[in-house]
């Protein structure tokens, strides 16, 4: 199995993702330059964090027209697993693979710290190793993570259980203080209706090793790889 990690100009978590998939999760990886047009022999696509195109214009808005995006759309429509982390999430929103948009953080500053999220949907390929309501401690690092969408879309997201992670406190309560960036309905991560494209603001690759004192990110990353391995066996 091969994880394809897309490298846009300005991606800066690409190497971190590569390290975690290769060294920690022991799967093969391929860094895919944004000018490539095919995703041949790639089983999972990861859009890593960073500042693609310097976040100029709007976070993710220039990356959406990179040549590789067409291949990613085809890959996603064919049911392939696509994970967008932080800037990757913003790119998925901008490219229409996920609904909604990101606003500047409510307090306007960049925020880098550990936060808690509650797993709202544990039956996805990305969350199968979690239990519903499980609280994960994950780090965030962003300036534009204040998710917004219109009320109709929000109802649809809820109806189809597309809200995957919500910001919460250590006990899993959705308190206002536990929402770091003002995100609508505490949304930290969401998926498409089919459940094969996930975007989230926290960084699971930054908490996948004991050396970094937190392995909660593994619930997500190994769920995703476990799902792929199972499919490969069938």
């Amino acid at each position: 199995m091969t994880v394809g990690i897309i490298v846009f100009p300005g991606s800066n978590c690409d190497r971190d993702c590569e390290y975690v998939f290769r060294e920690v999760l022991q799967v093969s990886t391929r860094l895919i330059w944004h000018c490539e047009t095919s995703l041949e022999n790639v089983d999972v696509v990861v859009l890593p964090g960073g500042f693609s195109y310097g976040d100029y214009l709007r976070a993710g808005s220039l990356a959406k027209v990179s040549p590789i995006m067409n291949a990613i759309k085809r890959f996603a429509h064919a049911g392939g697993l696509v994970l967008g982390i932080c800037n990757g999430f913003q790119i998925l929103l901008e490219s229409g693979l996920l609904p909604g948009a990101m606003l500047r953080n409510e307090k306007l500053t960049f925020i880098c710290e550990d936060i808690y999220v509650r797993v709202e949907n544990a039956s996805l390929p990305f969350t199968r190793q979690c239990v519903p309501g499980q609280v994960l401690k994950l780090p965030i690092a962003h300036a534009d993570g204040n998710y917004y969408t219109d009320p109709v879309t929000l109802s649809a997201l809820k109806a189809k259980a597309q809200i995957v992670f919500r910001y919460c406190d250590a006990q899993g309560r959705l308190t206002a203080e536990a929402n770091p960036n003002g995100s609508l309905d505490h949304i930290a991560g969401l998926c498409n209706a089919e459940g094969n494209v996930l975007g989230l603001m926290p960084h699971p690759e930054r908490c996948a090793e004991e050396a970094l004192h937190n392995t909660d990110g593994l619930f997500l990353l190994s769920s995703m790889l476990g799902t792929m391995r199972n499919e490969a066996m069938v």
């Binding site: 800066n12 971190d16 500042f51 195109y53 310097g54 976040d55 960049f110 880098c112 300036a143 930054r206």
Partner: protein
């Protein structure tokens, strides 16, 4: 040819004698373009003309040193075929004029110094000094500087893992922004800024050249007055996205072994990068300015040579590899052009529009720049500063309240408001995050980690520059040792006032003497550094403020230690002995509003013994936490050990004997060479034995546990004479909210 008037010389910051020297060496009058080149290269900022002879006192050699001062950055061997490359630099002047861009481009410059050595940057730190925060302009400067660092560093994707902040009125018109970068490279791939190989092509890559930042280096070599705001156009504007691309391009060019030399176009831009690369290699360079990518038409040779537009690099490639260099640049969308070649005549020859517009021996701009041994004399007020009639100072009435006031001092209070805005995790190397004595980064592919810290105490240096210099080195080393690291190298940023003033030179010379002596005693080589003079506005100088960056090696990474208490029931042990050291303390400033006296004396033999003892204990795995006593003294160190645990703050019950000392000296005095440890109960004796073997005083002073910090102080008859009793929750709230509260404009 334009005749060179006195007014023109003044505008270029050149003295009459310096001009005469130029004429003598050239054998003719310089052109206006050449005058501009001399102006920037002979500026204090580029030439180190007042500091060079004194900097020689630093020990710069050691078994691990791969590259000492004189290159873009220093490098030390960390084993496994790897080198740690690091340097600290100031961006004080631009940050006062335009704090956001000034600080941001400071980060950009130091990053380029590291990746020009072939190293991938893995960490940034910053040491900041501002005026007191009750003044709105100082709050504005702090917020904008932090925002600028955050904007640039986060986008480039290099974690900002540590640093420090202190405030003092003397920094009000001259804030300090010092930024440090650490990188890692395979040591046989270390690259130097040398224009080697006659005939090799010289390439320009990166941003186009604009009219921004012209004479930035000259500005940084002058004092400010009321017209400082008018210098805003001298400040460059950064583009972190371009920097990130440039970083990846340079490392990719090195992967393919296409380069022989590389240098950032930093201060003094194309002029400094070309003449420095040529003079280091003993070669010359010919430049064709017509090929330089420019932002606007009709830029003069003067503009192009002196522009300090950011995110530009000068490369010397292997002959015949130009096209592969261009190809990699184009892949990343970076401008690249061949703009000249390496020559054998030692001249920097510049052509523009078919004319030769400058022709200067490269070394005349660099090594042969003037050097001054400027006069030194202690300031008239020094004796008054150092005098402090301790006996006339009232003692502490309510130690709990004093502790709370100290925890709110911006120097001591939690910096979470600041580092929360910095991505301190990107790179997934940060195993100890900001908030402990030193940040620790693991090195992928090895069983090693590097600890890194910055330290400097302007108040100590103002009161006694020699001692202040020594104390800064000792504290930086102690911070590293407290995190489990062996110190292996140092970089320094020497922030001082106007060197033409004898009192400033006196401070400078003594501070270097003190630092050098401590470095020699502790066996720490200085591998890189930077001098920032003229931190002066309207004749008022900053306190002499050497800031040190120090790097230490931890093997294996799991032996890294943090400063906070971890387990209920652990013993609290104090290594080192408390003396009556109140001069120059944070306590004296916060409580008595005095910045006076002699700073605490540093006994280098004691410091050395303490550090050896602590490293031995950490290697034996008997220590759970170690925290250095610095600003605020023992009481603050104990309180911080309680409240800084990010997962679970823990209380402690402490008992101290006052002996013949004053109560305030016991609690808040700043005797150096002291460390607060916590160890499992059964290891207590082992720690005391190890301390005895190293001749380090040590005493069990209490126990970790509960949700309160109680400190009982006994007098020499064994009676309790004072106490601190505070809930951990309230201490934590006080400490963690203080900085944000003081930065609030709603006050």
């Amino acid at each position: 040819m334009t005749s060179i008037s006195q007014e023109l010389l003044d505008q270029h910051g050149l003295s009459h004698d310096e001009y005469q020297r130029i004429v003598d060496r050239l054998g003719r009058a310089p052109t206006i373009t050449e005058l501009g080149m001399f102006s920037v290269m002979w500026s204090e900022h580029c030439s180190y003309k007042s500091s060079r002879i004194h900097l020689k006192r630093f020990p710069t050699e050691g078994a691990r040193v791969l590259q000492g001062p004189g290159e873009n950055a220093g490098a030390v061997d960390i084993g496994d075929g790897l080198a740690a490359v690091f340097k600290i630099e100031s961006h004080n002047h631009p940050s006062f004029i335009e704090p956001f861009q000034g600080a941001a481009t400071g980060v950009g410059g130091i990053l380029r110094d590291i990746f020009t050595m072939g190293a991938r940057p893995i960490a940034l730190l910053n040491a900041l000094r501002f005026g007191e925060l009750h003044l709105p302009q100082n709050r504005h400067l702090l917020k904008q500087v932090v925002a600028g660092i955050s904007w640039y560093g986060n986008c480039v994707g290099v974690p900002t893992v540590g640093g420090e902040i202190a405030v003092n009125d003397l920094y009000s018109r001259n804030p300090l922004v010092n930024v440090l970068c650490l990188g890692i490279v395979e040591k046989d791939r270390l690259l130097r800024g040398r224009a080697q190989g006659v005939g090799n092509p010289v390439l320009y890559i990166g941003a186009k050249t604009g009219r921004d930042g012209i004479h930035g280096a000259t500005m940084a070599s002058d004092s400010f007055d009321e017209s400082a705001d008018a210098k805003r156009p001298n400040v460059q504007v950064g583009d972190p996205f371009l920097e990130k691309l440039l970083l990846e391009v340079c490392l990719e060019l090195l992967d393919h072994d296409l380069l022989v030399g590389i240098q950032d176009m930093g201060a003094a831009g194309l002029t400094s990068s070309s003449c420095e690369m040529a003079s280091r290699a003993g070669t010359g360079i010919q430049l064709e300015l017509d090929h330089v990518p420019c932002r606007e038409p009709n830029m003069t040779a003067y503009d192009i040579l002196l522009s300090e537009s950011q995110e530009r690099m000068l490369l010397v490639a292997r002959t015949g590899e130009e096209h592969r260099v261009m190809e990699i640049c184009h892949k990343w969308g970076i401008d690249a052009a061949v703009i000249g070649q390496v020559t054998d005549d030692g001249m920097l020859r510049v052509r523009h529009g078919g004319q030769t517009v400058a022709e200067i021996p490269a070394t005349l701009l660099t090594d042969e720049a003037p050097r001054y041994e400027r006069p030194c004399a202690p300031p008239g007020y020094q004796e008054m500063l150092q005098s402090l009639a301790i006996d006339n100072l009232p003692g502490v009435k309510d130690p709990s309240e004093t502790l709370r006031s100290l925890l709110q001092s911006p120097t001591i209070a939690s910096k979470r408001w600041v580092y929360r805005q910095y991505d301190h995790m990107v790179g997934i190397r940060t195993i100890v995050r900001p908030g402990s004595d030193a940040a620790v980064l693991r090195i992928h592919g090895t069983q090693k980690a590097l600890a890194i810290t910055t330290d400097g105490n302007g108040r100590y240096c103002l009161l006694n520059p020699y001692l202040g210099g020594m104390l800064a080195v000792a504290e930086a080393a102690r911070n590293l040792v407290c995190s489990g690291a062996e110190p292996i190298g140092m970089t320094d940023c020497l922030n001082f006032g106007n060197p033409e003033r004898p009192d400033v030179m006196w401070q400078f010379v003594l501070a270097i003497e003190g630092m050098a002596e401590a470095c020699r005693a502790l066996g720490i080589p200085v591998v890189s550094g930077n001098v920032s003079f003229y931190n002066e506005t309207n004749g008022l100088s900053i306190p002499p403020t050497p800031i040190l960056g120090m790097v230490g090696l931890i093997e294996p990474p799991r032996t890294a230690i943090t400063q906070w208490f971890k387990h209920e029931g652990d013993l609290v042990i104090l290594l080192g002995e408390t003396e009556e050291d109140l001069g120059g303390t944070e306590y004296l400033k916060i409580v008595h509003h005095r910045e006076q006296g002699q700073p605490p004396w540093l006994h280098l033999d004691r410091e050395k013994a303490l550090q050896a003892c602590l490293l031995a204990l950490i290697h034996d795995g008997v220590i759970r936490s170690a925290h250095d006593c610095s600003e605020g003294g023992l009481a603050v160190a104990i309180a911080e050990s309680c409240i800084t645990n990010p997962a679970r703050p823990l209380g402690a019950t402490i008992q101290l004997s006052k002996g013949r000392l004053r109560l305030d000296a016991v609690l808040f005095g700043e005797t150096p060479s002291r460390v607060v440890l916590s160890v499992p109960t059964h290891e207590g004796n082992r720690v005391l034995e190890c301390a005895a073997a190293h001749r380090v005083p040590a005493a069990v002073i209490g126990e970790v546990g509960g949700d309160r910090l109680t400190v009982k102080i006994l007098d020499d008859t064994g009676q309790e004479c004072a106490s601190i009793d505070q809930s951990i929750e309230s201490l934590l709230t006080t400490w963690s909210t203080a900085l944000e509260a003081q930065l609030s404009d709603a006050l």
